[in-house]
């Protein structure tokens, strides 16, 4: 019987059948310090969260700094500082080659890799929460395949919807293709005002197959130049990034955060199951529709300008979840930071490991992300068994 409530209980009319109170007390004698246990559960979680966020921000800073210094041409840190400090009236002027490399090439590319990584990771975290499955990513509803099909049709058949403001024809077509694919999968799975998760996944598989079919057909009829350009796009690259690409993805990222962050509590409730979430007053259908829409936008935008980049949306939220728990209020923004850091570092590797050549970033994320993910899953398994 709880100690702190016992005064209240004494004041209450006696329970009708006397006796059970003794059974209760015998069953589990609660330590008076139990409130401390609740407090310490909280503080342990908080510590893990602070540490995780600090590490993610540290990795982001590392990615940003090393990404500016390293590359085909190494720019000394002093020059990088001069590039940023000089316009503010501090220090000497940087060399003109520094201005050209940093300002025109490296800075927009770094910025795109960071906002793109953040967008992919945020989309992944949202989809995993919506589908109650740590393996879900926007590919589940066919976004990536739709993007690929759109890009292929624009490149090979020359069919495009005209450039959207700030987007080239291929990117615009990929963007629209990705959104159409996810919309189609979602509409298909919706029946009598409800979407069944399993139906949605099956619809996503079908949409994926259709998208890949279109892609395969286009690859088959493409000429050599088109093939080369499509292959490059499919493997993903931040090379040749423009500030307008950065602006697009950053704008989508802002929209994604604004839409998803208020859903964090609802996604937490959804983790208990759809019925339990409904019990708790969560409008499950609305939350799911919003989360899928936001994740599709984020993914389609990033993939449209940078091509397919696998694993970031899976690995970044997974690391954060393992380190700091499944609560979405923390998971969503921190996954975005971790995703930015991962993508920034992956792009750095893509630019530097095989100099003077580049490795497509999709190859880097897959070759490094795959084994890393395996190790992570294995380690989590072992710990789950050993600890406690």
């Amino acid at each position: 019987m709880s100690r702190s409530l016992s005064a209240e209980q004494a004041g209450r009319a006696a329970f009708r059948p006397p006796g059970p109170a003794t059974a209760d007390a015998a069953a589990k004698s609660t330590e008076p310090a139990s409130r401390d246990t609740v407090a310490s559960a909280l503080s342990a979680r908080r510590h893990a969260q602070v540490l995780t966020l600090a590490l993610a921000l540290g990795a982001l800073a590392l990615a940003a700094c090393s990404g500016l210094v390293l590359g085909a041409v190494r720019i000394p840190p002093g020059e990088v500082i001069a590039y940023f400090a000089h316009p503010l009236g501090l220090g000497g002027s940087p060399e003109s080659s520094t201005v050209a490399v940093l300002g025109d090439i490296r800075l927009p590319r770094l910025a795109l890799s960071l906002v793109g990584g953040a967008a992919l990771a945020l989309a992944g975290a949202a989809m995993q929460g919506t589908f109650r499955n740590p393996l879900a990513d926007p590919g589940v509803v066919g976004v990536s395949a739709g993007c690929a099909a759109g890009a292929a049709v624009a490149t090979v058949a020359g069919v495009s919807l005209g450039a959207l403001p700030g987007l080239g024809a291929v990117a615009a077509s990929a963007f629209v293709g990705g959104l159409l694919a996810s919309l189609f999968a979602y509409r298909f799975a919706r029946y009598e005002g409800r979407t069944e998760v399993l139906t949605l996944i099956l619809a996503g598989i079908a949409v994926n197959a259709i998208g890949l079919g279109v892609l395969g057909w286009m690859l088959y009829i493409a000429d050599d130049a088109e093939l080369r350009s499509l292959t490059g796009w499919l493997l993903g690259s931040f090379a040749g990034a423009h500030w307008r690409d950065v602006a697009l993805v950053a704008a989508l990222l802002a929209v994604g955060i604004v839409v998803l962050q208020p859903l964090a509590r609802s996604l937490d409730a959804l983790a208990l199951g759809e019925r339990e979430a409904s019990d708790l007053g969560v409008p499950v259908e609305r939350v799911r529709a919003l989360a899928i829409a936001a994740a599709s936008l984020l993914t389609a935008g990033t993939v449209a300008v940078a091509g397919s980049i696998s694993f970031v949306g899976l690995v970044a939220p997974h690391i954060v979840r393992l380190a700091a728990g499944p609560g979405h209020r923390f998971l969503l923004p921190t996954s975005a930071v971790a995703g930015a850091a991962l993508c920034g570092l992956a792009d750095l590797a893509a630019r530097t490991v095989a100099l003077p050549q580049e490795v497509p970033i999709g190859v880097v994320t897959a070759l490094v992300g795959g084994p890393f993910f395996l190790w992570l899953v294995r380690r989590a398994r072992v710990r789950a068994v050993v600890v406690r």
Binding site: S2, D24, K28, S40
Partner: protein, 253 residues
């Protein structure tokens, strides 16, 4: 428990159901069930497997819509409550508690208090005797422990109506009594409580009213003492169950 969460909604709520029908393909699950639940009363629903007990809870809690019949809470039709209002009026503890991977026990209970781990969470965990487990991950709990934690999650919501669907299914006898004692506490506080139970001795001991459901119909409804006869038990469960009375207590086996 305070009812701070239920601010503009009534602190007490009666529930009336009239002529509820629920049909699944090829099967009539509920066939005209009428029932009134009142504040300060513990109604226990018993009945053989497949009698429609869980379906009845789903309808009364507004999770499923009946094919016919009407339900009012506090005089208002159930359908007129928004999901959020409904969440503040009633809580459901299920046979199979949720098991969200990675959650700490305190965090799971806090989903009942809008995600905030505060003294309400501590008090609810303490009430079910699970406070020492607050920082454990939910995957490490036994079935019985999980059921107690899920009860704490409902207590933290301090709703005027509480549904318990076999809340004692995975519990040892001492904890079965502990849980039913907590149910009675909510009742003494003025809550409207309905519990589904399989253990007839437990039902007889704690119920104010006993509802016997069989084949989707209410076959008996009244004080446990009046309802529980060997004749009725044999009719409903098709098994010669014995009723032993010792003083005020009734034992069935």
């Amino acid at each position: 428990m305070t009812n701070a969460m239920a601010a503009p909604l009534p602190a007490q709520a009666a529930l009336e159901a009239d002529g509820l029908v629920l049909a699944l393909p090829g099967r009539l699950v509920l066939d005209g069930v009428s029932l009134a639940l009142r504040p300060g009363r513990l109604t226990v629903v018993v009945g053989p497997n497949g009698a429609g007990k869980t379906s009845l809870v789903d309808l009364l809690a507004g999770i499923r819509t009946p094919d016919a019949g009407r339900i009012t809470i506090g005089g208002r039709p159930l359908a007129s409550y928004s999901p959020r209002q409904l969440a503040r009026i009633r809580a459901v503890v299920r046979q199979r508690p949720p098991l969200p991977e990675g959650f700490l026990v305190a965090e799971l209970v806090a989903t009942g208090s809008g995600g905030v781990v505060d003294e309400r969470v501590a008090a609810a965990l303490e009430r079910v005797g699970m406070a020492p487990y607050a920082e454990r991950r939910v995957e490490t709990l036994s079935g019985g422990e999980l059921q107690l934690v899920d009860l704490a999650r409902a207590l933290v919501r301090a709703t005027p109506i509480l549904f318990l669907d076999e809340p004692t299914a995975s519990l040892d006898p001492a904890h079965q009594h502990a849980v039913m004692t907590i149910a009675r506490e909510r009742v003494e506080d003025g809550a409207t409580v309905l519990s589904v139970l399989h253990d007839l001795t437990l039902a007889a001991r704690y119920a104010d009213e006993l509802v016997v459901l069989a084949g989707g119909r209410i076959v008996a409804h009244g004080a446990p003492d009046e309802v529980l006869s060997e004749q009725l038990l044999a009719q409903v469960w098709h098994y010669p169950l014995e009723v032993v009375r010792r003083g005020e207590r009734i034992f069935i086996g």
